[in-house]
C-alpha cells in the first residue's frame, strides 16, 4: 500500500509531513510484515546528509529489517522511503554506486587476498578509492597479501568495512559493525568512522553498544518492537539533559542520596554542613544506558 497525497480526512490527528527531498534518508510510515507480525511498524525518520545516525535497539526490534529495506534487500509492505532521493525498490546500478553496505553477516569466505578482494570490489564502482589506501585506512596494510579466510574476527570485520567504503560511498550503512571486537579494536574502528565523517560520508549505524552510539552518533534513534520510540542527540536522549541529578554523600556513617534539579546549589548548601570535604561526594546524571534500558523495557 502506498500513501496517496489525498487531503487528510476530517478530524485527522496529524497529517504526516511529506518526504524530505534533501535528506540522505527519508522514511514515512514504513511497515514491514513477517507473517502477521509487523517487524517494522510505522517508522518515520529523516537522516541529513553528512550526519552519523545510530539506530539502537534490542535483538529483533527491527533494526536490521529497517536498514535492509533502505539498502534495497527487502520489499516494504507500507510507507514511503527515499534513499539519496531514490526509492530503494527502484534503485539501479547508479544508485547502488552511491551506497556502501556493511552487512551484519559480513562477506563470505574467499580464497582471494584482502588486496585482491578490494581491487575486485573497486572494479564495480565508477570512482573507487585506491584499494591500498583503503587497507591503510582500516589498518590492514600488513594483511594485504593474506587470504580473507585467514583473518581474525576483528580483522575480517575491518575488511568488511574496507569493502563497504572502497566504492567511495556518499552513504554508508553499518549493521552492527563492531560485534566481536575487543576494546582496542573498537577504539580503532571509532577513529576510522570519524575520519570517514570528515570526508563527508553520511552513515547509518546499528549497534548494541551504547558507548559506541554516544561516541560516534550525531543523533540516536531507539527502536523497539518495530517502533521508533525516540530520536535525539545522545546527551538529550530520554530527557537525560533535564533529568534530575542524583547527589550522594556519606553522613553520620550512612550513605545518603538526593535527587535535585539544581545540583550546584544543593552541593553548595551541603558544603556548609561539613567542616571540610563532603565525604564520598558524587553527582550523577542518568547514563545513556539507564535511559535506554528504561525505554526498551517499557511495553509501548
Amino acid at each position: 500500500m502506498t500513501r496517496t497525497p489525498a487531503a487528510p480526512a476530517p478530524g485527522a490527528v496529524q497529517p504526516a509531513s511529506p518526504l524530505d527531498p534533501d535528506a540522505a534518508i527519508s522514511i514515512r510510515g514504513l511497515v514491514k510484515r513477517y507473517g502477521d507480525r509487523n517487524a517494522v511498524d510505522g517508522v518515520d525518520l529523516d537522516i541529513q546528509r553528512g550526519e552519523i545516525f545510530a539506530l539502537l535497539g534490542p535483538n529483533g526490534a527491527g533494526k536490521t529489517t529497517t536498514v535492509e529495506v533502505l539498502e534495497g534487500y527487502r520489499a516494504r509492505d507500507g510507507g514511503e522511503v527515499r534513499v539519496l532521493g531514490v526509492d530503494p525498490a527502484d534503485g539501479g546500478r547508479r544508485w547502488k554506486a552511491e551506497l556502501g553496505i556493511v552487512l551484519q553477516s559480513g562477506a563470505g569466505d574467499s580464497q582471494l587476498t584482502c588486496l585482491e578482494l578490494l581491487r575486485a570490489q573497486a572494479a564495480y564502482y565508477p570512482a573507487p578509492r585506491d584499494p591500498a589506501e583503503v587497507l591503510e585506512l582500516v589498518g590492514l596494510t600488513e594483511k594485504a597479501g593474506s587470504r580473507g579466510r585467514t583473518l581474525s574476527g576483528g580483522q575480517r570485520r575491518r575488511l568488511d568495512v574496507a569493502l563497504g567504503i572502497v566504492g567511495r560511498p556518499r552513504l554508508l550503512f553499518l549493521d552492527e559493525p563492531t560485534t566481536g571486537f575487543d576494546p582496542e579494536a573498537r577504539r580503532q574502528f571509532w577513529s576510522l568512522i570519524r575520519s570517514l565523517r570528515d570526508l563527508g560520508t553520511t552513515m547509518l549505524l546499528t549497534t548494541h553498544y551504547l558507548d559506541e552510539a554516544e561516541e560516534l552518533a550525531d543523533r540516536v534513534g531507539v527502536i523497539t518492537r518495530g517502533r521508533l520510540v525516540e530520536v535525539a542527540v545522545p546527551s538529550a536522549l530520554g530527557g537525560r539533559g533535564q533529568a534530575p541529578a542524583v547527589v550522594s554523600w556519606t553522613e553520620d556513617g550512612v550513605r545518603r542520596t538526593a535527587e535535585t534539579a539544581a545540583p550546584t546549589a544543593f552541593v553548595a548548601e551541603l558544603a556548609t554542613r561539613f567542616p571540610g570535604e563532603v565525604p564520598d561526594l558524587a553527582v550523577a546524571r542518568p547514563t545513556l544506558e539507564d535511559v535506554y534500558l528504561r525505554m526498551i523495557g517499557d511495553p509501548a
Binding site: 527531498p21 513477517y34 517487524a39 539498502e71 534495497g72 534487500y73 527487502r74 539519496l84 532521493g85 531514490v86 546500478r93 547508479r94 547502488k96 554506486a97 551506497l99 553496505i101 552487512l103 553477516s105 559480513g106 562477506a107 563470505g108 569466505d109 574467499s110 580464497q111 582471494l112 585482491e116 575486485a120 570490489q121 572494479a123 564495480y124 564502482y125 565508477p126 570512482a127 587470504r147 569493502l163 566504492g167
Partner: protein, 271 residues
C-alpha cells in the same frame, strides 16, 4: 538530489573480466574443488584404465570406451556439481548478498561462473585426453569427430551448468548441496554407462538414466571415440545424435527456466 560528479559506471565487459578472474582464483586456489572436480576424473581414468584391461570386441579396449564416459562425468562435475555446491556456499555465507548490494551488473556474476566452468572443463578434457593417449593408447577422434565432440560437450556443459545453478537454490548451504548432489551424480554415473557398458545396465535403470543429461552426453561422446560398428550395442542400435541434441537442448531450456524462477541473491528470510 545533486549528482556532483556524474562519472560513468564501469563497462559491463570490464566487470565481466573482473568476475572471471575472481572465479578462476576462487576455484584453482581451493584444494577441495581442485581435487574433487579436477582430479577425481583423472584418478578414475588412471585406476579404471589400469584395472579393467579388456576388449569390448571389434578390437576396442575398455579404456577407449571409458574415455567417453569419464569425459562426460568430468563435464558433469565441472558444471552441475561445481555450480550447485559453489553457489549454495556463496549464498549461505553472504557472498551473494554482498555482491547484490554493489553496482556489479548481475549478468557479470553469471558470466564469471560460465568462464570458470569453461576453463575447468577444458582443463579436465585436455588432461584426460593426454593421459588416455600417453598411458592407454586411446585413439583420438578424427575430422568430424572433433566437431561432434565440441557440440556435445558444449551443449551438455550448458545444460548441466544451468541445472547446477538451479539446484543450488534447493540447498541450505554448500555442505548440504554437496551431500545431496554428490551421491546423485555418482548414481547417475553408474546407470548412465560411464563405468561400464550402457547395454549391461538393466532396462528399467536405462529408462531412468535416459531422463537425465549425463546418459546423452556419454552416448554422444561414444560416437566420437568408438567405431561405428559398436553403435549396434546402443539401446537404439545407433548413436542417436539427433536425440542427444534434442534432450540436451530441452535440459538447457528447463534449466534456464528453473534458474530464472528460483535464483536468489540471499538466504531465505524466514522470520
Amino acid at each position: 538530489m545533486t549528482m556532483t560528479e556524474e562519472r560513468s559506471l564501469p563497462s559491463i565487459a570490464g566487470v565481466c573480466r573482473t568476475r572471471a578472474g575472481v572465479e578462476l582464483k576462487e576455484f584453482f586456489r581451493q584444494r577441495e574443488s581442485v581435487v574433487f572436480t579436477l582430479m577425481f576424473p583423472v584418478i578414475l581414468l588412471l585406476v579404471f584404465g589400469a584395472v579393467l584391461d579388456y576388449e569390448l570386441g571389434s578390437g576396442v579396449s575398455f579404456t577407449q570406451y571409458f574415455m567417453a564416459g569419464v569425459i562426460a562425468a568430468g563435464i558433469l562435475g565441472a558444471s552441475l556439481q561445481n555450480m550447485a555446491i559453489g553457489i549454495a556456499t556463496e549464498r549461505s555465507d553472504g557472498t551473494l548478498k554482498g555482491l547484490a548490494g554493489t553496482p556489479m551488473p548481475k549478468s557479470a556474476y553469471f558470466v564469471g561462473k560460465v568462464v570458470q566452468v569453461l576453463v575447468v572443463t577444458v582443463a579436465i578434457v585436455v588432461i584426460l585426453l593426454v593421459i588416455g593417449v600417453v598411458f592407454y593408447g586411446v585413439d583420438l577422434p578424427s575430422g568430424t569427430g572433433w566437431l561432434t565432440f565440441a557440440w556435445v560437450a558444449a551443449l551438455g556443459s550448458a545444460a548441466c551448468t544451468l541445472l547446477g545453478i538451479a539446484v543450488s537454490s534447493l540447498a541450505r548451504n554448500g555442505r548440504s548441496a554437496s551431500a545431496t548432489v554428490t551421491p546423485v551424480a555418482l548414481v547417475l554415473q553408474f546407470i548412465s554407462g560411464v563405468f561400464f557398458q550402457f547395454s549391461e545396465v538393466p532396462t528399467w535403470l536405462q529408462t531412468i538414466a535416459a531422463v537425465f543429461p549425463l546418459k546423452w552426453m556419454a552416448q554422444g561422446l561414444r560416437s566420437v571415440f568408438l567405431p561405428d560398428a559398436l553403435a549396434a550395442q546402443e539401446p537404439a542400435g545407433s548413436w542417436e545424435l539427433g536425440r542427444v541434441a534434442l534432450v540436451l537442448g530441452i535440459w538447457c531450456v528447463v534449466g534456464l527456466v528453473l534458474c530464472v524462477r528460483t535464483f536468489r541473491w540471499q538466504d531465505r528470510i524466514d522470520r
